[in-house]
Symmetry: C2
Subunit: 130 residues, 2 copies
């Protein structure tokens, strides 16, 4: 078992908000939404986001500068993320595919690099937008 992280007030507020959305949220839109809860400054948001990313509760969609909750209840995949992103409606879905994950986990380059993390983003058109 992993150490159970205890979240602080700010971290909880922000995680709650992100978990209620099934789509990624941007930092300043989060800030706008949590102002009524007493979080006033960007830095307070970014600090919480960074922590939540670190412990795997949320992931950053790098190409969109946005944050989405990890749906995997185990939350042990902070370091191995795969997303599909629709370039039309911007719908983002986390992908869980054992075969692909294995391949990525086992990947070795020829430079002797030691990997501990990867992020993969697929882009295209979802069923609705095709």
């Amino acid at each position: 078992m992993q150490k159970q992280e205890t979240l602080t007030k700010n971290q909880k507020i922000i995680l709650d908000l992100i978990e209620k959305s099934d789509q990624p949220l941007k930092a300043y839109s989060i800030l706008f939404d949590v102002k009524k809860k007493g979080i006033n400054a960007p830095l307070q948001v970014y600090r919480a986001l960074n922590k939540l990313v670190k412990i795997g509760k949320i992931h950053k969609i790098e190409s969109r500068n946005a944050f989405i909750a990890c749906k995997n209840s185990k939350c042990q995949i902070a370091n191995a993320t795969i997303f599909s992103i629709c370039e039309s409606c911007e719908d983002v879905t986390e992908i869980h595919d054992n075969k692909l994950s294995e391949h990525l986990r086992d990947f070795k380059d020829n430079k002797g690099m030691k990997y501990n993390k990867y992020n993969l983003e697929f882009f295209g058109l979802c069923k609705k937008c095709v």
Copy 2:
């Protein structure tokens, strides 16, 4: 054969600069460097960068907001990029691995999404930094 793109003056200046570096460059560092060539504003840089990305001459390292030249002379892989990034020295290398590329190209999710592009970034420690 693909249509041979003709680059404009600004695009050439900026591509030259990026190709001379074996590491990713950031937009504002590029701007600083090309001021002596008469490129004065961020937008001039971003416009050239966007075009160069589009035609596959350079790639954006999303997690770093930086741009690196594509070393593949065919430049047909604008839509399928794999990088390894050392989290200590920030060294970035483009990875060409046929087997992995095939897997990614052939990947199908169960949502009927139509992919036309992907970007994969591996993070870890390079040989020097281990």
